[in-house]
Amino acid sequence: MRKALPALALGSLAASPAVAADLNVTVEIPRLTVAEYHRPYTAIWLERPDQTAVGTFAVWYDVKLKNSEGEKWLKDIRQWWRRAGREMSFPVDGVTSPTRAPGRHTVSFNSAKGPLKGLPAGEYTLVVEAAREVGGRELIKVPVQWPPKAAKTTSAKGATELGAVTVVAKP
């Protein structure tokens, strides 16, 4: 959370009032008491009502393994893999990064780049999917109206592999 603050501030600074808008996503990765724990592979993406992907915001995986071996397990984020991942080449600048430790992580996106750039107005769904090595997998969906007319917070809560996912959209 603390780490995310500068990004948040940057996001608001960069915002030019006329067209720009921000999307801040907080993903909670629960602390699990298991014998063998690995941080989950996690994907955050945006989809249209027909479930086709607009684009991928973030993918957290073992980017540092030798010979790109971490990519072997990307398909385990299976819904994202079907909707977007399988068409991509890894790593992706600004999208892929290492897995995150248990706790709350806020990532910020804006209409200047990435999936939100030039996005037609409409109803979308932000999807967060987590798959953990020798563990389970969970997918959470949060509705997003884009562009936001006023600041709006929507959230959903996971039961096993994900905690709360909160999406704050701001014009």
Binding site: N67, E69, G70, K72, K75, R78, W81, G85, R86
Partner: protein, 265 residues
């Protein structure tokens, strides 16, 4: 009626004798059908068994097994081995896209009488003496295919050969999900195979009482649809008897088998 029955029985015996696959179920089971990463390998188990997918009867013979890479070239079968109950082999997936692993055969068999003695034969060419009577020739075309995809699915390997019974995926065979409907077309010698029964059996038979098989008939254009009830590996088989044969006066039978993975959405 009696004649037809006898013929059918004879045909069944001839077909079953050289190939256990008809009495049991032949399959290839891929270690995965959807893969990611730079350097994935595929391992395949291949067997002939009663229950799916347990190797408990005979290994599948690996002679003639081929792997076709996404660009249409042949990929290498590596680490092949045949044990008591199953065969196994690897394919190094060096290209992105959809691979096909295929085991196909086109065999002739038959019987004839010389005097009062009945002789049976089997091979790729008819072996019949000039003085033979009651000559029966069977042509048996079989094809077993599986599909695996690294990265995004591609369609080059899905093109049919135009020989025997073949499946034309309309829905990509590595894009199957429980609760969704998938479409396929069945072809015989490159033409629509209508009114053919397709049997779809989910794996895991050992741990349930009922087979839970799905039976569908192809439409006149050879098409059929399956709505997958649950995720898992499925064994799909179709067969036709009769129809034109490339061998004069032969009774032709053609079968097609595939094993498809249905994922959880």
């Amino acid at each position: 009626m009696k004649n037809a029955l006898r013929l059918a029985v004879t045909a069944a015996i001839i077909a079953a004798a050289p190939m256990a696959a008809h009495a049991h179920r032949m399959w290839m089971l891929p270690s995965a059908t959807v893969l990611s990463g730079n350097d994935p390998w595929l391992t395949v188990d291949a067997a002939v068994s009663n229950d799916l997918f347990y190797f408990e009867h005979q290994p599948m013979r690996l002679d003639g097994v081929k792997a076709i890479a996404p660009d249409g070239s042949e990929a290498k079968i590596e680490n092949a081995s045949t044990g008591r109950y199953r065969s196994t082999f690897d394919v190094h997936l060096t290209q992105s896209g959809t691979y096909k692993v295929v085991s196909a055969g086109d065999m002739l068999s038959g019987s004839y009488k010389v005097g009062t003695e009945t002789k049976r034969w089997r091979g790729v060419q008819p072996e019949i003496p000039a003085d033979a009577t009651e000559v029966r020739v069977s042509q048996n075309q079989r094809r077993l295919e599986i599909f695996v995809t690294k990265g995004a699915p591609t369609t080059t390997v899905l093109a049919p050969t135009g020989k025997g019974l073949e499946l034309l995926p309309v829905t990509h065979p590595n894009d199957l999900f429980a609760g969704e409907e998938a479409s396929f077309k069945l072809q015989l010698d490159g033409k629509p195979a209508g009114d053919v029964e397709v049997e779809i059996v989910p794996g895991g038979i050992r741990y349930r009482d009922n087979l839970n098989e799905i039976k569908v008939k192809t439409a006149a254009d050879g098409s059929f649809k399956v709505k997958w009830p649950e995720p898992g590996m499925y064994w799909i088989e179709a067969g036709v008897r009769g129809g034109p044969s490339s061998i004069p006066n032969a009774q032709r039978s053609a079968s097609y088998i595939t094993v498809l993975e249905v994922l959880k959405p």
